[in-house]
């Protein structure tokens, strides 16, 4: 029941909108079947399956709007949910920033559904966990991991003739391996559309190797270092930066994207010329829903940063009207262009540096410079003359991704990672003068 076809979904949406007595109405139907398995201390701790389908209906009267939701779809229920949305709309205060409903949208075709993920069974989940646990036990390390998979659909329609349907699958796996003596820790992740391409044993092998190699870490003095950040380490910082790309807060003067004297920094070269970041819902590597959840506006391929120059900032329709700009919805995926080198290739070309597996507990320190703090975790190594020399203690960093993306020395091959708001392709980066401000004893 959780996954409806395009025609089944359209039938329900058409029917509910017909019940509308409001000036305008829109409806969104979404459903998912999500499965998960969690393990720790080499033993499965929890597993579950959640089925859910929900219809959300919005009724509009002028600048007033009301939203009601329901998970039953009989004719009587559909009429009831529309009446309730209308009642709520009449009672709600005016929203001065309300924009009229969009008309028909042309959504990009997206292929983001894999049968292998849709058909995953509890046994497959258990095996995925067991593969990881067995590998850990063989090497006397302790596994803790989590696999979550989902098959889902979303369909949208409104009284102005807009309609869209999107079905998707995804699976995300993370694993932390710790040596029994507590002195070593390694981590790996895998994020896919197609469960057939996920290999939890292989990911676990990477995490095990890092755990074993990271034991008895030495302390290096905090300071500025050349670092090789693996894709998961880069994504923590880039996610924060892209999450703060916003035209309105920039125009209002309260963003690192604000221009002195007013306006925003679109058109300025703020980054190294090799920095290219764009989004594209139809990307085969990171397929994503082709419309914005906010107002169902169609997403296109959008360049955010091209050759180091800021090209666009997400801008709501309301703010586009106020600022006489163009409305650009926030993206559902992100692609950062990289090179073709592996992380091993990047290490080979490094005389002295620090390899960082992962960044963790990242928080904003100063939104004016986008200064972030956080820590390295689960595999930090010292590199000398093109080789990993020895494991080192974790560092706290205080660094701005804007500064980091100006100090690029080299770029690796992009890998798929899970980021806020959707999947992303992110390369490993070799960066000079990365600021580590203190040491951490954490393993």
């Amino acid at each position: 029941m959780a996954i409806l076809s395009r025609s089944e979904a359209k039938k329900i949406l058409d029917k509910v909108l017909k019940y509308s007595k409001a000036e305008a109405a829109s409806a969104q139907l979404s459903g998912a079947e999500t499965g998960n398995i969690r393990y720790a201390r080499n033993s499965v701790s929890t597993s579950g399956i959640v089925n859910d389908i929900e219809l959300a209906v919005e009724a509009r009267f002028g600048k007033k709007s009301g939203i009601a939701t329901i998970n039953e779809f009989s004719d009587a229920s559909l009429e009831k949910v529309m009446r309730r949305a209308e009642e709520l709309a009449k009672l709600s205060p005016d929203n001065p920033e309300s924009m009229p409903l969009l008309g028909e949208q042309k959504y990009m075709p997206v292929d983001g559904f894999a049968e292998s993920t849709a058909d995953i069974t509890p046994d497959q989940r258990a095996k995925a966990a067991a593969d990881s646990i067995v590998a850990a036990k063989k090497k006397d390390v302790v596994a803790a991991g989590y696999l979550e998979d989902a098959r889902s659909f979303a369909a949208v329609a409104n009284t102005n003739g807009l309609f869209g349907y999107h079905a998707a699958t995804s699976a995300n796996f993370t694993v932390t391996m710790r040596t029994e003596n507590g002195l070593g820790s390694g981590w790996a992740q895998s994020d896919v559309t197609d469960f057939g391409k996920m290999n939890t044993a292989a990911s676990s092998g990477i995490a095990i190797d890092k755990a074993v190699l990271s034991q008895e870490a030495r302390a290096l003095e905090p300071g500025k270092y050349t670092v090789i950040l693996e894709p998961s380490a880069v994504s923590g910082l880039v996610a924060y930066m892209m999450g703060n790309f916003d035209a309105r807060s920039a125009d209002e003067g309260r963003s690192f994207m604000s221009k002195k004297g007013g306006g925003n920094r679109t058109g300025e070269k703020m980054f190294d010329k090799r920095v290219n970041i764009y989004s594209d819902p139809s990307s085969p590597s990171v397929p994503a829903q082709p419309w914005s959840d906010d107002d169902h506006m169609a997403l296109q391929r959008v360049d955010w940063i091209k050759d180091g120059v800021v090209q666009n900032l997400p801008c709501s329709r309301y703010w586009a009207e106020q600022s006489k700009g163009t409305a650009i919805p926030s993206p559902n995926n992100l692609i950062m262009v990289g090179g073709d080198k592996s992380t091993a290739d990047l290490i080979k070309k490094t005389r002295r540096g620090v390899l960082v597996t992962r960044t963790w507990y990242i928080r904003m320190v100063d939104p004016q410079s986008l200064l972030l703090t956080g820590l390295t975790r689960d595999g930090t190594f010292y590199i000398e003359n093109g080789k990993i020399k020895y494991p080192i203690k974790n560092f706290r960093f205080n660094e701005s991704p804007v500064i980091m993306l100006n100090n690029i020395e080299d770029m690796g091959r992009p890998e798929r990672v899970s980021m806020w708001g959707g999947p992303a392709m992110i390369p490993a980066l070799k960066v000079r003068d990365f600021t580590f401000s203190s040491l951490s004893d954490a393993v």
């Binding site: 998912a32 998960n36 969690r38 393990y39 720790a40 201390r41 033993s43 499965v44 929890t46 597993s47 579950g48 959640v50 859910d52 929900e54 939203i67 009601a68 939701t69 998970n71 709600s92 205060p93 929203n95 920033e97 646990i133 302790v142 803790a144 991991g145 989590y146 979550e148 993370t174 710790r178 309105r248 807060s249 209002e252 003067g253 309260r254 604000s258 002195k260 004297g261 709501s316 963790w360 507990y361 928080r363 100063d366 939104p367 410079s369 200064l371 703090t373 956080g374 820590l375 974790n394 706290r396 701005s400 804007v402 500064i403 203190s438 040491l439 951490s440 004893d441 954490a442 393993v443």
Partner: protein
């Protein structure tokens, strides 16, 4: 089953920009309607418990929940969003073959409940294949039919929406009139109506209320391109709408007005606007070692991160290794009976009973009557936070009563209790404390926070920073963050003000677990001094 949703807040929000929200959207009028009758809940619960026992479960508990939320979101003189939600359903947890199984349903019929119960037993049996050791549950005496309610004076759900909107508009106007460039303000209300029953013979009906009214004020210097924010100093509380009465006897006059058992949000917004502007030109801190004087509005978060989390037993044992992390406070350190977590001045306790706290309930989510216990006594680590299936690992016989699930559809697990610092025994005011500081910083309000996965190394910011020179506050500072190591930091604690200054702070949306669940928790303290802490300057310039 209902799905977790997130409310996206536009503009520069207060803290997190995505807030958890679950359940169906409902009309405001429904928030005050009463839920299912207790006798009906008992009937459903007994049906589930009997089914579970018949299917071979050695233990079962049932939680029937009705969770109500109301969120009001505004910026400047605009209401951006009003959402009321209701989520109703049942979760059943069983032990079969020595293994936990859980299932939940919103199909509140005899059939629906039987199906979910059977699913829970089947899951337990299936997972028992991967179980290393059988679950060992600390005994709990059945409580019979009992009830508990947050002692509130005004049920916030019964206050008309118009009154809430008026209050937030008054707050925003006060900030704008006082020179703020922007202001975002919000009101979050939670009412958990939960019924717990177990095969131990408990039938517990609880009505839990929580409230939070955060705001953030921004001052922009258009000419120089700088901006500064100041967040509200009100705290999330386990109180009714009376918290927003802002009574004079609950105010503490300091560099700004600080608040105890009630909060004057309008007054704080006006002060915030003035202070955000003052911050634009405040002196940038010189990095180095300072003695820190930390107000409870700030210290709660340091306690939360550096004491509350590392002393959660599931983290210590490795159950959270892949997500939140583990802990430096390992079992061997605790067993030694000598591990100096802090100086002799440091007495930290956990509780689920402090009036007005977010953690206060009569019974936890596995039917254990709540209480309080010591974690650190005169600086020495003495205990952890643990629940029924964990305490035996500490050689203890009674659960600490800190089990919680954020919804009927989530499985309950060990969550943080309120964790607080006992006030100093000797009479000491904040003024007296500051008088003895030669080179220090007085910090008010919580800001940026980050700590490693074993809770050693941390960095905290704040809202307001005041320089102390030779016993006197000489002016405002900016770009301040302090870094330390948990054990080093708590051992540098040299003075704690007395109980007159004791106030609670807290977190409304503390996340843990996979899939992630939120919980709310308070942390109390009096103003406290820490000596020689490393302060860094956080100012950077972009090209």
């Amino acid at each position: 089953m209902d799905r977790r949703k997130f409310l996206q807040l536009s503009g520069a929000g207060v803290g997190a920009s995505m807030l958890p929200l679950s359940g169906n959207v409902i009309a405001e009028s429904k928030l005050t309607q009463s839920g299912m009758d207790v006798a009906v809940k008992k009937e459903f619960a007994d049906a589930a418990l009997n089914t579970a026992t018949k299917l071979g479960a050695s233990y079962a508990d049932v939680r029937i929940g009705r969770y109500l939320n109301q969120y009001v979101v505004t910026r400047e003189m605009k209401v951006q969003n009003v959402v009321n939600t209701e989520s109703i359903g049942m979760g059943v947890r069983v032990i079969a073959n020595g293994t936990w199984g859980f299932a939940a349903t919103n199909d509140m019929t005899t059939d629906g409940i039987a199906r979910a119960t059977a699913q829970a037993v089947a899951t337990a049996k299936a997972n028992s294949r991967y179980q290393q050791e059988p679950v060992e549950l600390a005994p709990v005496k059945g409580h019979g039919e009992v009830s508990w309610k947050t002692p509130i004076q005004k049920n916030a759900m019964t206050i008309p929406l118009a009154e809430k909107v008026d209050l937030l508009m008054e707050v925003n106007k006060a900030a704008l009139d006082a020179g703020a460039s922007f202001v975002n303000s919000m009101l979050f209300l939670v009412n958990e109506q939960k019924y717990f029953a177990s095969t131990d013979g408990s039938y517990i009906d609880q009505d839990v209320h929580r409230l939070w009214s955060p705001f953030s004020v921004t001052a922009v210097d258009k000419k120089d391109g700088g901006f500064r924010t100041r967040d509200g100093l009100g705290m999330p509380v386990g109180r009714g709408f009376e918290y927003l009465d802002g009574r004079a006897e609950h105010k503490v006059q300091s560099q700004t007005v600080l608040y105890g058992d009630s909060y004057d949000m309008v007054e704080d917004a006006k002060l915030a606007a003035q202070q955000a502007q003052e911050k634009l030109t405040a002196k940038s801190v010189k990095p180095g070692k300072y003695d820190l004087v930390l107000d409870p509005s700030h210290l709660w978060l340091t306690i939360h991160e550096s004491v509350g989390h590392p002393l959660e037993l599931d983290r210590v044992l490795g159950y959270e290794a892949n997500y939140a992390g583990t802990s430096f406070a390992t079992i061997d350190k605790w067993k030694s009976g000598k591990f100096k977590y802090g100086s002799d001045k440091v007495n930290l306790f956990a509780d689920k009973v402090q009036p007005g706290s977010l953690g206060a309930v009569g019974y936890d989510d596995e039917g254990v009557q709540t209480g309080s216990w010591d974690l650190v006594k005169e600086g020495v680590l003495t205990n952890y936070q643990a629940i029924r299936d964990q305490v035996h690992m500490l050689g203890q016989k009674e659960s600490h009563g800190c089990c919680y699930a954020d919804s009927w559809s989530s499985v309950q697990f060990q969550r943080m209790a309120n964790v607080s610092l006992l006030p100093g025994k000797e009479e000491l005011s904040v003024d007296d404390m500051i008088k003895d500081v030669e080179k220090g910083i007085y910090i008010v309000g919580d800001g940026s926070f980050s700590i490693d996965q074993q809770r050693y190394n941390f960095q905290f910011g704040g809202q307001l920073f005041y320089e102390i020179e030779d016993g006197k506050i000489t002016g405002m500072l900016e770009d301040v963050a302090y870094q330390s190591n948990t054990q080093e930091f708590w051992n540098s604690c040299s003075q704690v003000c007395d109980k007159r200054d004791y106030r609670l702070g807290g977190s409304f949306f503390d996340g843990k677990g996979q899939p992630s669940q939120v919980s709310a928790v308070s942390h109390g303290s009096s103003t406290t001094r820490f000596d020689g802490v490393n302060v860094i300057n956080t100012k950077r310039k972009l090209g």
